[in-house]
């Protein structure tokens, strides 16, 4: 475990079609490893890592890795609400995953309301481009059109590889920095009843929902 002290916790959610590489991206980001094979995500999985933004403030990123599979769609919807940032993930070698991005974005906006999250458009698997012609892996989404879409919608854009690690870190730091900037300008605040941003200092108090009871039991038993 790394130094567990942090100043803020941001909750980021990763959304996008099945098999675009959300879990691999997160595994690389949190573990530094690339998993060749992984089971499809059930519902939602969690990852966490502490990073520092430009002024040295320590941010714990709590990352919600949602299942891309259609059958989990109704479940994953209920997980959006408390996110302060959303990574819209597509596969640069999968055209339809990019074409679904506007739908994912609308979905996220709708469920995160009234909060306005920071969005980033993240292309995955750039390592496959041009290297694996036999298996038919070729770029189906150009960097330019992705960037254009990003600019039109006010998103950050980055292309990554969870195999080589290219831009993986950058993708998350980009979002974290933007969230942090919005805290600095006062656009975002730590709010009761919303877990998108939490303060790191009062973490034990940050537990709502039924946990207080368990805690009380613990403290009174002594």
């Amino acid at each position: 475990m790394v130094d567990p002290i942090f100043d803020y916790q941001f909750r980021l959610i990763l959304i996008g079609d099945s098999t675009v590489g959300k879990s691999s991206l997160l595994k690389y980001f949190t573990d530094g490893k690339f998993a060749e094979l992984s089971d499809p995500t059930v519902g939602v999985d969690f990852f966490a890592r502490i990073i520092e933004v430009q002024d040295g403030t320590r941010i714990k990123l709590q990352l919600w890795d949602t299942a891309g599979q259609e059958r989990f769609r109704s479940i994953t919807k209920s997980y959006y609400r408390n996110s302060v940032g959303a990574l819209l993930v597509y596969d640069v070698c999968n055209r339809s995953s990019f074409e679904h991005i506007p739908l994912w974005m609308m979905e996220a906006k709708r469920h995160i309301e009234p909060h306005r999250p920071v969005f980033a458009l993240v292309g995955c698997k750039v390592d496959l481009v041009g290297t694996d012609v036999k298996n038919g892996a070729r770029r189906e989404v150009s960097c330019e059109e992705a960037r254009m879409f990003a600019e039109e919608n006010g998103l950050h854009h980055v292309e990554t590889s969870a195999k080589t690690g290219l831009n993986v870190e950058q993708a998350f730091i980009l979002v974290a920095q933007e969230v942090y900037n919005r805290i600095q300008t006062g656009e975002y605040k730590v709010e009761d009843g919303w877990d998108g941003i939490k303060s790191g200092f009062n973490r034990p108090n940050g537990m709502d929902f039924n946990l207080l009871e368990a805690e009380t039991v613990q403290s009174t038993c002594c």
Partner: protein, 518 residues
Amino acid sequence: MSKQSDSEDFESADEGQTLQTKKEKKEIKKLAASTKNVEQTDGWDDFDIEETEAVEISKSNKKDETEKPTSQDTGWEAFDDWGENDNNKVEEVKPNTKSTKDVHKSQEQADIQAVTERLAAATTKNEGWGWGGWGVDSLLSTATAGISTLTSQVSQGISTVLETGIGAPDPEELARATKEKAVNQETNVEEQPTAQDTTFQFGSLLSGVTKFVETTGTKVISGGLDTLEVIGKKTMEVLQDGDPGLVKKRAMLGLDTEKPILSQILREAKERADEEDKMREAKREAKEVHYETLFDDFEGLVHLEALEMLSRQVSMRIEERLRSADADKRQDIKETMQQVAELCEMPEDDDDDDDDEEHGDSSKEDVFHERLQRATRDIGLKLQFQPLIKQYTDILQWLDATEVVNEKAIYKRAVSGLAQATALCVELYHKTAEMLLVKNRRSTADEADALTQLTVVLSKHVSEMATLFTEKLSKQPSEDKELINNYITNVFLEAGNSSKYVENAFQLTLPIIQIGAV
């Protein structure tokens, strides 16, 4: 800025008071010493008694005095003798006073050491403080408290003095003592152009001298007291000038330190930084064995939260169905819900030992795996028990392999092991709930039974794990039995905590089971 001007005011006021001579300071000291003594030493009681009559006499003589204004000069000389006397007495009691003072000081010293140091630092640079020893004394007796004590002592002293007549010496004694002198002085007296009555005769000289002594004594005493009172009042005025309760002065003493000496600022900054480092370290240390924090680090908290989101959403859907259903149907739904809830009630601990007999040969982790599978046989889902099994295996190995280890390490491992196991349990409920929600054919009764059984198995699991750790702890050869016992108690408390989380997760899963039936 305003702070600064405050302190400047204060300083200039002080400078004014510096004009008060050292003599006066001494007097204050004496008075403080003597008034303290009134309460503390017997000597003074005797002295008081000794003087009591004198005051009466001197009072009764007052008329004569006003009729016969006497020569101050002769009186003064006589008084000087008495004054020396008095001084001696004061000096006699001084050692006592000092020692009590010292005790007094040392008590307060600790409290106000910081202030003392700052003040000392400030005064070394700033002689204008002028109040010197006294200032330090009383100010250090910490501002108001000290000062009010002092003043109350002073005023008490004054009243005591006035009542008992500290000033008037025993007339007979004095008369005897001054007789010779008076005779000697006779010539002087006559020679000197004094304000003495021309009808002054040798015969009445004696009584005259006595009167002089008495009068001047009284006058000087009351004059001295007046002076002291004035000084005291002045002191309080200066100190409290525009600052009732000395609030600002105290603030100033605290704040003043920040400007004068750079090295001190740096030293304090360093101390603060060290303190922060220590706190950070302590915080980190505390977090290592803080169950809730660890539970969070193992993603237990967020799984529980996600499970709660699902649970809430599903409950809302059930509510919706209830609202939209007609009365009969609504009753049906309610009954079904009730039945499911009853199915999910935790059984009494009656089948505790059957497992243990069956699995005599198997390893603990295999027994655990077996139980999990048996419990969830009919749930109709492929659940992932691997993380739980693996964590259990790791712990069992750690406990076996680790022979020489201190009790703190065991305790840490116990808390973190329990937190992790609990987090994995919660994750299991969360995953199960998610899979149930996307399951094609629901079989509510089986699901309810399976999850109830699962809860039994998992609760047992955490308590067994706690037992393993407490056994290890109690086998620990340590002299600090109390520490060991504390650890054991805490491990069991955290195990209870774990069970709570497990049951909580199960309760959150209930609506997800229920919705399959309605």
